[in-house]
Every structure is written in structure tokens, then in C-alpha cells.
Symmetry: D4
């Protein structure tokens, strides 16, 4: 049943089917706390009312299987836990996703998977944490060529501070919940990134590779305007 | 005395005079905790070694006077507490700075002052907090025309969540320390903005109008590349 | 064994059987940490000593089954996890329960279930979060007709700030523990709601749909006095 | 200059002059961080565009004097620090403001002053903290006669838990920042009140006598509907 | 192997066998994180070197069985999860353990079990939380007769504030981790109890029925001196 | 005007004049946030209605002078900031107040002053922090002779853990707000004391020498019963 | 594939194979969040490119078995959960690892295992917590003979404050997450150790026996320089 | 008056005059909260009973003057706020104190002043924060030559993570309280440093240049043993 003016009323949810026309991309479905049937209904309504890429994030393999069985044609990234349909064409916007450590992998993978699905060119630069700074400095040219950098790091969250001083493009910092003790499940790198000594670094929620990719989408959108 | 490779060694400080060539803008001087003489020395070395705009932020009027007396030619914005020299030419990048309440004024002013000095076109939209949502909705056209939105809000920090759903450009959220009690000196809006239900909203440090303007600078820079 | 003056002494518990006469409703039993046998004993004493509706909240299906087997006649709401006996007649007090997202569903359901059991007319308005503000604005008439609004939201907790500015009736905000990272298991929306920029919004404990419904009961009670 | 549709655009502020028609009361001006001239301009626009009571809160005596000099006819409550114009007629709604200790006085006074100005009948019951429970029990009749109770308490924040069990009307808890050490500037009573063992107690921000009075206004409004 | 001067060196542990002579009671063994074999070794050395009661706390039933199989003669309290050997004779010191709610039961039981094992006369007064204050007031005589009161409460932690005003004996407050949301796993009642408005209330760690009983032991010891 | 049943209604305060008969000591007046005139009124009513010692704490010298001028006969301790009238006779209960460092002096002095005024024999043992453990061990005999120990310490709050293992009497720990950084204004020693590895140590609020003395009063009271 | 200049690019990781030459020890592999195959690849590249000891920490027995099956020659410490290859020869540097309680055992074991593998002489002194101070004082000679002390303690974290006052060598404090309630999963001892009243005590992350051993390695390295 | 066994009993303080023989250095006096007369008495007793350097830290200029007037021969460092007597001879141990920003100057100066007074060779490397990483890399040789590195940084606290990967000597991290908002008065860099991705970095209290210098003293001491 239609709720009028840009959304569909499913009773338990109101998918914002007008978002594609307002913001260039359909709503993205966050998986946790939703039953497979609910995800199918929401994704289905988005696929029907919109024409662009549709994504569901944070889906465990089994849940992804159940959804895929009813909504075929999607592709599932097991590391990123992202299920997506109708990938966008390349928009010529280069995103480099740099991660500080191997354990940050799933969050970095989510950023890459979402960015790729929505048409950004995403490259992963894994395990370039600042305690072995030569690993990062060896990639200076690649960093300089990026249109946006997504820095994924847990614990001390120091990576975006170094990167932010090396490049002139937007730097989106993603704190992760890896580590233990004083890392406080990601609160510590989140706070550290917010107080980064590199000017103009911006921050998204802990573990939100998705949020970082969507921020890159907004930047790509405004660049496309010109 | 030169420290080689892009910085000047003043003994108590090492101004990063190479930043302009690396990042398109000289280092910006943070005023608190520095004596007027120290600010004069740092700003002086930046004015000498660089050609672009030079700024000092968070300067009380008297300190600004002392610095200006020795480094004439700057302009001082009393609300923003920003002292700046050699403003950049307009770069054709429209920033709208929306503030939730009147008390957020100084932080919004810092964002406007920094953005203006570095060549961005900044417009202030004051007091459009979501408790009177019609005030914000009356500005929909202006919001849609912006290349980047800076949302300044304290307390519940709800403004960027609403704005983020209305526009497709980058939304940079700045939590402020106004309010009392459960606002926790800005921690509450900071956390709320990081968990914004609008996808792709990014956050900078509490009260950092400066940081938001620098993030806009990075976005403008990458747009200029195209 | 009777404890005299309004309570029953069961040894491990002292059900407040006098509450119905003092406050218009019997005590409500909180399920977690109580064995089925304990719940049966407490509910039994309330059913016996009182005449109004009796409720047990936060009961998993299996525990609800065990209790129901010994105390038939109750009805169980699986989403809300509420087991209730002897629903009150309608008191002509309209409560709208608005939830920001689909994941807030169980908390909203608890509010609806408790409100309904105690005689309030409760309507659910699901998934009207502020990032798609048009979904909320489409319901303005329904919001205005409510006698009390219960706003259920996690993450940024922004919903009651917008709603609070649209209506003149009491707005009871319920933060939820959905989300991750900076949402801090509901602390973030709780703090945001307490500092809501909408005047007169009140807040209950995280995930406490029950508490919100009981607050509505108190408001209905005082309205019935007139 | 009018901003259309219910607000006035003063440049630095957008007074929500449509609030009176939407919510029955004009916007209330929060004093801190605003210059006397700004307060005069905002209050002036509200007095002009609305007909009901206009209030400014948290005004130190000197600031109140400066504002009063330009906007005569107001009355100033020095304990509550509230300056108000055009008090509403009595609406026949009885609010009892109970405070736990003498030090909670200014917050209780703010609740009384705001409630009185907007037409509620407010009575102060000072220093009835639970460590001398007989002081509270001596007032049982008065408590029972209230249409809403505002409980103001710092430190352990225990007062609303006891009161909430004695009365059937709405109980609005206001934590205060009195005390030291583990009271955490009011965070402790705020948390304690949110987890009150009395069902249906609701909470507003720390020290917000204003917020509690506005919550009472919303309750009075819905009662007047009947 | 003996470690000399009052302790036994077991390699992985150094049981303080001199504590009985210094403090009147042997060391009590905290179970979590210790293998059954380790508990057997420690308890064995205490039983051998001392003559008074020996206790192990926080033992799940199966672990208690394994220990009991090798060290017969102990008694196990399943609710309190305490395993104890050689109970002390009654010392004529009356402890009342009052709990606010049924869910606080296991912590109250630990206090009773430990107190009983070390010779104090402990009586449980369950479910006398302040939201139904008449339940507590009905026990005034029993409260007044106690030599020490242990108040066990979670959530708002209000019970010791009321009790502390009714009696003149020591009041030992035990916060519990029951409840959810703003109860913060017991931090909230802990803070509330530390800022109790009743003078001279003292606090032990969250859920530490053991600690409260040991505090009562110290008080009983000094009374026995006279 | 009398409020009946054990308190006096002064309008702004309700002194609990019945406390002396219930608890053996009149109410103690906490100075901050009260005007001199208010203190005079409250103390006056206590002196009139009671016969025992009356105290006001946390009074700066000038405020103490103003109060003393109207209520002569009191004695003022400038370090402790305690003003007191009608000291009790010695009750033969020995309290040792041990402080970890010189900076803890004012809090220790408050404990000594209050204890002395209410008839306890209090001895100060200053600057016996555990980083120079020989200073504490040199006092073993004095510690063993005490009927109760009050341990005052900031920063790591380690003193009561060592003392608690040396003596068998009650140990009351008082965290102080001295130190900086990670001491968190006393939160750190407060938490450390609550998790003391010495069994049966109890804790009062940060800086509350008063609370510790009152806890000692309760212990002395129960000992006097025998 | 080689990444040039001191690291190997495995795609998902960049082992810092140059660390051995820069810092005297190869990189140590942190196990959690890495698949056995990933650990095998990283350890393999380190064994191949370096000559010194190689370690993987925090490995559960089964994971250790899987890794060992492909990389034989390692030794596994089940308490410490450390798997190591090619232990270094003794460097004549004596480390004493003192733990406060039996529950701190695994963390102390990790410190011993890492220290031993990298050539330090490590001795464990278990269960010498300060509540039985005689246990620690009995070891004064051993403490004095150490070249570095690692103090492992949870809860009140008091051990390094006492030890720090007894010895003149470096004291490295390791807070542990044992205990419950106010221990806050190790935050409390961490804060207490950072504010230790013993001068020059240093702190590593919660539960990081590894970090403490590596700090000892740095100290041993600088001593070997002389 | 002598307290026997290594301390002097001044009544209000017990200077640990035995520390010099136990730990190689007299006690250092922390100035805040002590009256000038108290400092004079404590320092006087240390100068008399010991032969090594005596220091008082955190003294404002005027207090330093008052103390110096009575205890001549000391030297005062106004930036570091350290007053010291009888500097030790050089011990041939090189400490490099690296600070991230100009605002960290006073803390770095305290580290240098204390280190110098106790015989360490301290060199300051100011303003080498990681956002301009070339400034730090230009000093690689100096860093490598140090026997210990003290890294002073606020905000993101990233400096020791980079430095820790470049050098093999001990790295002592000092978080500072500079910055604002999410820097949380130094808590953020403190947490970030404790979770540093560089192995073996150790941390002292916020702003404690003193603590870092004393840690270096302990390292120098153990190196001198060889």
C-alpha cells in the first residue's frame, strides 16, 4: 500500500522510495534486527520503485541465502557481509580504503563493497598502520591520486592523522572495535580521530564502512555537479 | 632557521611551511596556550614562506590586537575570534552553514570566517533547529543549492539528521558545547551525530567550526581537480 | 500469608496488592531473573487480590508458555513479549506510538501492548525517522489528534525533538538500544532526548516501552479526574 | 522582517512566532550565551507577534535589569532567575513541586515560576527528602490532590521513586547538580530517576525546572481538551 | 611448601593462612577464574592451617560438586552459590538483609549465606523497595532491632537512603546489576548509594553480598572487643 | 511553625528535629548553596529542639563568621571548615584517621572534626601512603588498637587495601579529589576502593570526611547497645 | 610478493619484516580476528625473512594446533596462549612478574612466556596482593635483584604502588580485567596505576602481558648498548 | 622529630627520607594543595637528611619565590614550574623529549627540567606531531641515538605510535590535557597511547612530565647496574 509522497507503507516499515530522486541513491537496508521476510519486503519495494543499486548490509551468510532465494540476482560479499543488486556504473571517482591492521579487514571490506556497488572505484590498501610507517610512505603516490581516502583503524586510531597530513583530498576516518582493554570497543579510536591533529579529517560511526562509503558518495555527487 | 624539507625550526615550534604545496593551504595557527610573541613568530614564518591565506583561530580580542600590532594587514572577526591575512580568491564552492540555535553562533561564525578566508562562499543560516521544523523547510531551495552543508548544533544534535535526508551533497556535522546537564559539554550531540540516521553524515570535533571548514576545503580541492 | 496493609508476603517477594487502590492499576511483573514458579505465585496473588488487568513483561515465549499453563486466560504478544490477563475497558485516551526505525519494533510493541491492556487506545506509526522527514509530515493530522505521543528511537534519538515541535500534547521519549558503536547501547539517544530542543519532552529508561505506557496511564488518570 | 510561515528572521535568530498557535504557548527564551540586545530583540518579536505569556530563563539580575529597561512590564523572580511578561490566567491545574533538599531550591523555584507564568497553580513543598521520610508522609493529602508532581532532587535522586508509589498522577522528575563527588554534577540522580522502581515516572534534563513545567503544560493542555 | 610468616606457597597461589589470627577469619576463596583443582588446593590448605569457617563464593553447582567430592563436609547454598565448611558458632550479632526487589535475591542470599557461615544471625527481608514504601514501614520494629542492616538494591538504589533515615545502626549498601538501560549494570545504584542523602551509609562493590557480610563481620568484631 | 511529627517547617527547609531521638544525633547542616541566614535559621531550630551537638560543614571562614555572629558559642575548625556547637562527651570509641598524602589533609580534618564533635576519640595519622610502606608499618600497634579506621586517599586509593589486611576492625575508605589527570577528581580512588582486595572495606562519597565520621558514629552506637 | 623496503605484501596484510633490523625483534602476531591460514602466512613470512624469535599471542588451543600443523617447530604455552618459534638465547636480564591474585594468572603467564621467548629471564611471583602485605614483604630480596618488575593486578590495582616504593628498577604495571562491578573490566586498575603514588611507575594496556614484556625488551636493549 | 626507620614525622607530613637510599633519589614534592610553609618544611627535611637533588614541582612563580626566600640555592624553571636544589652530576643517559605541538610545551619542559636535575641528559624536540610527518622523519638519527624517548602529545596522542616503530629504546608516552571537546582533558590521548599499535610503549598520567622523567630515572638506574 502506498503512503504517498515518496514512501511505501509496509506496516512494520516505511521504505523511503523517494530517496533515489532526492539523493541519487535508494535507501540502504541495515540487516540486524530484521527478519529475512522483512528484508525481502523492504528490498523488494526498493527494487520495484527505484532503478539504482539496492543494498543490504551486515547480513550473516545464512540470512543472505534466505533473502537471495526470494530475491535472485544479487551478489553477496562474505567478508563485507553485504548483499547487493544492480550495481551502478563506474562514476570515475577513486576511493582508497586504507586499513591500519589485518583485523580491521571486515570494516574495510564493507567500505569497499558499498563503494563499488554504488559506482565508486575502490582500492584496498591493507595493514598500513603507523607503527611501521614505511609501509604507508611506500604508497604515497597512490594516496595522492585518490579522490577520497577512507582510513579504517582501531586502537590508537592514528592512521588518519598521518594520512591527513600527506594528502589534500577528503579523509574519512572509520574507527573500529578491534583490540581490547583501553580500546573501549572503538570509543578510543573514535575520540582520537575526532581530535586528529590533521586539519579537516572527518569521522563516522565505529565500524561503519558503510557510512564512510556513503560520505564518499556525497562527495562524488557534488563533484559530478560541476 | 630552516629545518630543511618543508618546515622552519623556531625552537619552540616547527611551522609546517611545506603544507601549502602539499595541501593547497598553509598551516592554520591554533591560538590558545600560545603567547602573542609565539603566534607572531609562527604566523610571520608562514607569511614569509607561503603565498596563500594565513589564519590564527580562537584569539581573544586583546591577543588579536597584540598580534595585529606586529603583523599588520590582517582582519579580525570578533564573533568568530579568527584573525586572518591574505584571503584567497573565490573558488566558486558554495557552503551553507546552518546552526540549530542562537547560542551556536560563535561556532558557526568560525566556520564561516575560515571558509571565507580560504576562498569558499559561505552563507549562514542561523537558528533553524528541528523543534520548529518549518524554519528549516522554508530554506529547502537554498539547502539544495549548496555544494556542502555544515550543520552546527548542540544538545540533541538532531539538525544534521534532518538535513542529511533533504540534500545530496556532503553534510559536515559540528557538535557544540552549548546547553547544560545531559548535553555533557557537547559529548551528547557528538555521539548523536556519529549515529545519525541519515547516511553519509560526517562529524568533526566539538565546537570545531574550523575543522568543518577545512573538511569543506578538502572537498572543494577534489572538485577542482576534475 | 498476608503482610497486612496492602501487600502479600510470599517470602521471596512482597507483591504490592494495594497498588490498585492507590494508583488505579495493579503492580506489573518484570519477568527477567524470576523463575516461572515465582511469576506464577506473584501474578496469582495479584489476580486474586485485585480486579484490574495484570501484566508480566519481558517474557520469552517458553517462559510465557510455562506461566500460561498454570494461569490460563492470559494473552501473549510475541513481539512485545508481554503476557496479560483481564484487559481494561477502553478509557478513550488516544496514544500514538511512533518509532524511528524498523529495529525499534519490539520496544514500540511493548508500549502498544501495555497501553492496550490497561485500556488506552494505542496506534503504532512505524518507521517515521527524521532522515526521511516527509514520512512524518504525512502523518501530521494523526499526530495532532493524539492525547499523548510515545516516540521510540535509537541512535541519534532525534524523533521526539521534531515531533515535540509539531504537537501540543505530552511527548514521552523512549530511547532504544538498537544500533552500534557510538549509540552506546541506547545511552546516546537517552542523552539526546534529555537535551531535546523541544520544550517539555520527557524521557523514560532505555527500551522501556512499559515505562512510557505507564506514564501515559498517569496522564490518562489525571485527565479522567476532571 | 518576516520569514514567512510562522517565524521571524532576525538574522542571528529565527523566533518561532507560530509556536503559540501550534502549541498554545510562545517560544521561551533561554538566556545564557545571548547578549541583552539579542534577548530584547527576540522577546520583542514574540511579544509583538503573540498574545500569551513570554518568558526568558536563566537570567542573572543585571542582565534582567538591562532587558527590563527596554521591555518594561515584566516581572523578575530572583531565585528562579526568570523574567516574564503577560502571565496567563489560571487554568485550574494543580502542580506540586517537591524538592528533596534546601540546595535544590533554585531549580524548584524555576519550575514554580514558569508554571505560574503559564497559568498553572504551583505549590512548593521544600526539603522533603527521603532520609527523613516522615516529612514527606506528613504531606500525603496534598500529594494526592495534585494533578501533576514535579520532584526535584540531586545526589541519590530517590524522591520520585517514593512519591511515584504514593500518587496516581504524572510524576516528572528533575535531577539537580547539587552535591559533590559521586553525584557527578547531576548525572547520578538523572540515571537513578530513569531507572526508578516506581512505574511511569518520567525525567527531564538536569536542573531543568523549566522543562518540567513545560511537561506539565502539555499535560494540562491535553486535559483541557476533554 | 611453606612460604613462612603466615602464608603457604602453592606456586600458583599464596593462601594467607595467617589471616585468621590477624583478622579472626580465614581468607575467603573467590571462585571465578579458578579451576576446581586450584580451589581444592587453596581450601585444603586453609582447612588444614586454620580452625575457623572456610568459604568459597560464586561457585556454579557443577564446580561446587567437583570441589565437594574432594573436600567433603561442606554445605552448598545454590541460590547464593556459596560453598562453606565449619560454620562458626553464633556470635549474637543480628544482621537484617533487606532487598529492594525479587531480582536482587541472589545477591541478598550471598550476604545471608556468608554472614551465617561466619556466625552472624542473618534474616532476609525480601522485596521491600521504596516504590511501595508501606512494605518497608511495616517492618520498622525489625529494622530497629538489627545490629547492622545490609540494603541490597539495583536500579535507583534508593532503599538505603530511606532505611538510613529510620535506623541508628550501621547501614551497608550493596548495589546490584539487575535492571537494564540506565541502570548501567549496577553503576547507577552504586553512585546513588555513595551520594545517599542519609548520613553515614557505606557502600561495597556491585553485587558483593560477600563484601557486605565481611563489613558486618568487622563491626561485630569490634563490638565483641568491648 | 511546627510541621508536626518530628520536623520544623521553615518554608525553605524542614529541619529534621526528630532525628536526634531516632538516631542519636541531630541533623548535620551542609553549608554550600545555603545563605548565612538560612544556616542560622536551620541551626537555630536544631539547637532549640535538640540537646546534642549541632554541626555545619563546608563553611568558608567568612560564612562561618557571619553565622557565629548570630549563633555564638560554636567553635570553628578552619582546616576542616566545620562549625560546631555543644560537643558530645567522649564515648570511648577510638577512631584513627589515616591519610595517604599531605594534600588529603582537609578531608581527613573534616573526619576528625566531625568525629570529635560527636564524642568519638579521633587521632590523625597523616601522610602514610603505600609508596613508602614503612611509614604505615611503623604504626601497626596504633592501627590494631583502633575501633574503626578511616582511610583517606586520592589517586590510586591503595591505602585501605593495605590497612584492611592489617586490622580486624571496620575500615571506612574515603576517596579524595586530589591529584590530576587519570585521578578523575576522585572517581579513580572511589572505584579502586570499591574493588579493594581487602575483604569488608566500605566506601563513602568522594571527599566526605563527614560521611566517614557518621559511619563511625553508627558503629559506635551499635557497640554502645551491648 | 615483496613490498620493498622492509615489508611483505600479502594482500590482506603487510608483515613488517624490517622490524627485526630496526628494533631487534620481529613483529609479533596478534591472533584474534585472524584465520589460521592468515596466521600461517604471516608467521611464515616472518620466519623466512627474519632470524630471531617469532611469536603469535592470544591463540586458543585449537587454533594453535592448526597453525602448528603447518608450521612445526613451535612451542605452545596453554595458560599464556602463546605459540612461539626460535626462542632467543638468554640476554642476562632478570624480569620478575608479580601478580596480585590467582585470577591474574593468564596475564602474568603471557608476560612470562613472551619475555622468555625473547631471551629475558622471567620469574613468576604469584598471588602477592597487598591485602596480605607480608606475602610481598617476604620477597623483598628477590624484588631488589630484578632488572625490571612487571606488576599484574586487577580490581584496586594497588600492587605497583607498593612495589614501586620498594625497588629502584623500572616497574611496568599491567591492569587486568578480573573482578566484577566497579572493576569495570580493568578500567579501574588501569586508572589507579596511572595515578600511582609511586613515582615513575609506567602502565600498559589492560591484560597486556605481551605489552609489558615488550617494554622490558626495550629496556634490556638499551642496557645492552652500554 | 624523627619517626624512625626512614621517615620524618612533621605532623602534617611524613617525608620519606629513606627513599634516597632505597631508590637512589629523594622524594619529590608535589606543590599543589600545600602551603609555602609546608613545602619549606618538607624540602628542608629532605635537604637535611639526604645528599642528592631535591625538587618541588607545579609551583607557580609566586609560591616558588616564597619558598626560595627561605630555602636559597635552588633554581626555578618558569615554564616547567619546577624548583630544584643540588642538581645531580651527568649520568651519561640520553633522553629525547619529543612534543607533538607547541601547546604541549609546559609538560615537555617539566620532563626536561626533572630529568636534568636528576642527572639525565635531556634534549627537547618540539612540535614534531604526526600531521607533518616529515618534521619527525628529519630527526631519525637523533631519535635512534636516544637511550629513552619521552613522547608528549595531546588530542589524538599519535606521536608515540609512530616513534615507537622507529626506535628500539624505551618509549614513555605522556598524554596532555591540551585541546578541547573530544580530547576530554587528556583522557583521549591517554587511552590512545595505552592502545598504541607500537609494541612496548608505556604510559604515565596525563600531563605528568615528572612521571616520565622518573620512569627514565628507573631505566637509567638499571642500566648503571651492569
Amino acid at each position: 500500500m502506498s503512503g504517498g509522497g515518496g514512501f511505501t507503507d509496509l506496516g512494520f516499515a516505511r521504505p523511503d522510495v523517494g530517496r533515489e530522486s532526492r539523493q541519487g541513491l535508494p535507501e540502504v537496508v541495515y540487516g540486524p534486527g530484521k527478519a529475512p521476510g522483512q528484508i525481502v519486503a523492504i528490498v523488494g519495494s526498493l527494487l520495484e520503485a527505484n532503478t539504482g543499486p539496492v543494498l543490504a548490509t551486515r547480513l550473516a551468510p545464512q540470512k543472505a541465502d534466505e533473502v537471495s532465494a526470494q530475491l535472485p540476482g544479487g551478489s553477496y560479499d562474505e567478508v563485507a557481509r553485504v548483499l547487493s543488486w544492480r550495481h551502478a556504473r563506474s562514476r570515475g571517482f577513486r576511493v582508497v580504503v586504507a586499513s591500519a591492521g589485518t583485523s580491521d579487514g571486515p570494516v574495510a571490506a564493507e567500505a569497499v563493497a558499498v563503494a563499488t556497488a554504488i559506482g565508486l572505484s575502490a582500492r584496498l590498501l591493507a595493514d598500513v598502520g603507523v607503527a611501521g610507517i614505511h609501509r604507508l610512505l611506500a604508497e604515497t603516490d597512490d594516496l595522492a591520486a585518490a579522490d577520497a581516502l577512507i582510513c579504517v583503524a582501531g586502537m590508537d586510531g592514528a592512521l588518519p592523522s598521518v594520512v591527513g597530513g600527506l594528502v589534500d583530498c577528503p579523509v574519512i576516518a572509520v574507527p573500529t572495535s578491534v583490540g581490547y582493554g583501553a580500546a573501549l570497543d572503538g570509543i578510543t579510536p573514535m575520540l582520537a580521530m575526532l581530535t586528529s591533529c590533521a586539519a579537516g579529517v572527518v569521522v563516522v560511526n565505529i565500524d561503519s564502512g558503510f557510512g564512510a562509503a556513503m560520505a564518499a558518495h556525497r562527495i562524488a555527487t557534488v563533484r559530478e555537479r560541476r
